[in-house]
């Protein structure tokens, strides 16, 4: 049915957004072409993001766990780390998933075109063929015409202009390469990505410094959640520098010498074996010739879209990191399905109420929907159910009772508006809170749902009972 075009659907970029869009389009019967500059599918998330970071974080979590086991009666020897083998493990994990994607693309008859794509007009893209493990161009170019297009070209790590070009200065991709075991590491930016990588390196032996311009780490999460993480993680850090900027850096024989300015800046420049730039990601909107297709791109490189993920050009859609915050894989996937269905003429729309966030640190920090900070700022009256894991049998049995689960309810309707969990496996449980919000559940709905004992998951039921005033696993509410 593609008629005058080479395909019904061209998807630009094969990250979680792009492959999901292409697969959905193919499943709906469209002749689909997926253009990707790199050799393997999966984009940032599978190749240099979500997945390799979690493979390493899992290993780090086990190592950290083991280091406390002697107090429980089990003593292990000091672990021997084989970096090559660890790296190979990470590569294998990534390979399993990207290999799976390639196989599924074939089953769906999605044609993969390797190369760098750039629009030449509203129905045509030019692809410059690339080769090898990077994006080296072969010089071959071809034009592909399409009836519909979904732009899923993602984002790139931001680099500070004054950072020296040196192997000891890396972004998250470089950090994931795990080239060595630095003794002293600086994390630029106190966001999730930097703190996750810091966790890995610190468990492997590095002392950490972190510098953040704002007045707290892990922005976006409520401070009470972050406080628990921070208390547990203070031993990893020599110096947490808030409201502080990096103003210069110099590569020396002994390390990277970094200068700071701001409230908590050390007077002297500091020396590091490894500097991780994790100051944010910028969208790739300006690198794909969008103007040739007539697609509007914002100054910062984002592509504005409507609730069906449609750009200003009706047959061109955009999804994922390139359309805006939050830059998260699960957002990209859900947007992808909407875009593919909308292109097919279905009335799909992106109308999820909430998108959860998770820091896969140790403990994990997960939150979804309204935060307490937002409630305060927006003057929304809330009722809180706060269940401390010191009252959770399972958390105590796991010797990890530092966490808590809190749910925020509308003070008037008692409907759940948001929630946060800090503690081990928080990320695996926040989905229930998201479902509760989407379903419009109230404190009784959640509290009267029987959660199995003893689990960490029952903390969600308990938090709802606390809000409702019926919990008997915590001290009585003061009257």
């Amino acid at each position: 049915p593609s008629g005058q075009y080479d395909c019904d659907m061209l998807v630009l970029g094969a990250g979680p957004g792009g492959y999901s869009a292409a697969f959905r389009a193919a499943d709906l019967g469209m002749k689909t072409i997926l253009v990707e500059r790199y050799a393997s599918l999966g984009g940032v998330c599978l190749n240099v993001g979500c997945i390799p970071s979690k493979a390493l974080l899992h290993v780090a979590a086990v190592m950290d766990e083991v280091s406390h086991m002697d107090t429980l009666g089990i003593t292990f020897g000091k672990p021997q780390v084989d970096l090559d083998k660890l790296r190979a493990h990470k590569t294998k994990v990534v390979g399993k998933l990207t290999g799976g994607l390639a196989a599924m693309a074939k089953m769906r008859k999605v044609t993969i075109v390797r190369g760098y794509g750039s629009f030449v007009d509203p129905h045509t893209i030019e692809v410059e063929e690339t080769t090898g493990t990077g994006q080296d161009k072969t010089g071959t170019k071809k034009k592909i015409s399409f009836r519909n297009c979904i732009i899923a070209a993602g984002s790139q790590a931001v680099r500070l202009p004054f950072m020296p070009d040196d192997p000891r200065v890396v972004d998250s991709t470089g950090a994931l390469e795990l080239r060595g075991q630095p003794k002293k590491m600086l994390i630029l930016g106190g966001g999730i990505i930097g703190l996750e990588m810091g966790t890995v390196y610190s468990t492997l032996g590095a002392r950490l410094d972190v510098v953040e311009m704002l007045d707290g780490l892990m922005q976006g999460a409520d401070r009470d959640l972050v406080r628990v993480w921070q208390k547990m993680n203070t031993p990893r850090f020599d110096n947490i520098m808030l409201k502080t900027k990096t103003v210069g850096a110099e590569a020396t024989k002994d390390g990277i010498l970094v200068k700071f300015e701001g409230e908590q800046a050390p007077k002297e420049p500091q020396l590091y074996d490894l500097v991780l730039q994790a100051v944010g990601r910028s969208p790739n909107g300006k690198k794909i010739g969008a103007e040739k297709a007539g697609v509007t791109v914002s100054d910062r490189g984002f592509i504005p879209v409507d609730i069906q993920m449609r750009t200003n050009v009706p047959h061109i859609f955009a999804i994922g990191d390139i359309v805006g915050q939050p830059m998260l894989a699960h957002k990209a996937v859900h947007e992808a399905h909407v875009a593919a269905e909308a292109a097919m003429g279905e009335k799909s729309a992106f109308n999820a109420r909430v998108i959860p966030s998770v820091a896969y640190t140790d403990p994990e920090v997960a939150w979804v929907g309204l935060t307490e900070d937002q409630a305060k700022a927006q003057g929304i009256a809330i009722k809180k159910g706060h269940f401390p894991w010191t009252a959770s049998g399972r958390a105590i049995a796991n010797t990890r009772d530092e966490g808590f689960t809190k749910l925020l309810f509308d003070a008037e309707t008692h409907r759940i508006l948001g929630g946060g969990i800090v503690g081990t496996h928080a990320g695996d449980m926040i989905g229930e809170v998201a479902l509760a919000i989407e379903m419009g559940a109230d404190e009784i709905d959640i509290g009267k749902t029987i959660h199995p004992h003893p689990t960490l998951g029952e903390s969600i039921g308990m938090a709802a009972e606390i809000a409702h005033g019926t919990c008997t696993d915590v001290p009585p509410a003061r009257k």
Binding site: D306, E346, K347, A352, T413
Partner: protein
């Protein structure tokens, strides 16, 4: 804000129904698929949605 589950919200959107005009018969006024059916029957033909 009317309460409705994702499936009900999606269907309402597809049918061009504004949920604030639909009576919710579920617990705490939750709008169900059946409520959409009733609304549709009373309103007649579903309208188109401006995208």
């Amino acid at each position: 804000k009317p309460i409705a589950s994702p499936a009900v919200r999606n269907r309402a959107w597809e049918l061009g129904i504004e949920l604030q005009f639909v009576h919710g018969s579920g617990p705490a006024g939750r709008i169900t698929h059946e409520d959409l059916d009733v609304y549709l029957a009373s309103r007649g033909q579903p309208g188109a949605v401006g995208a």
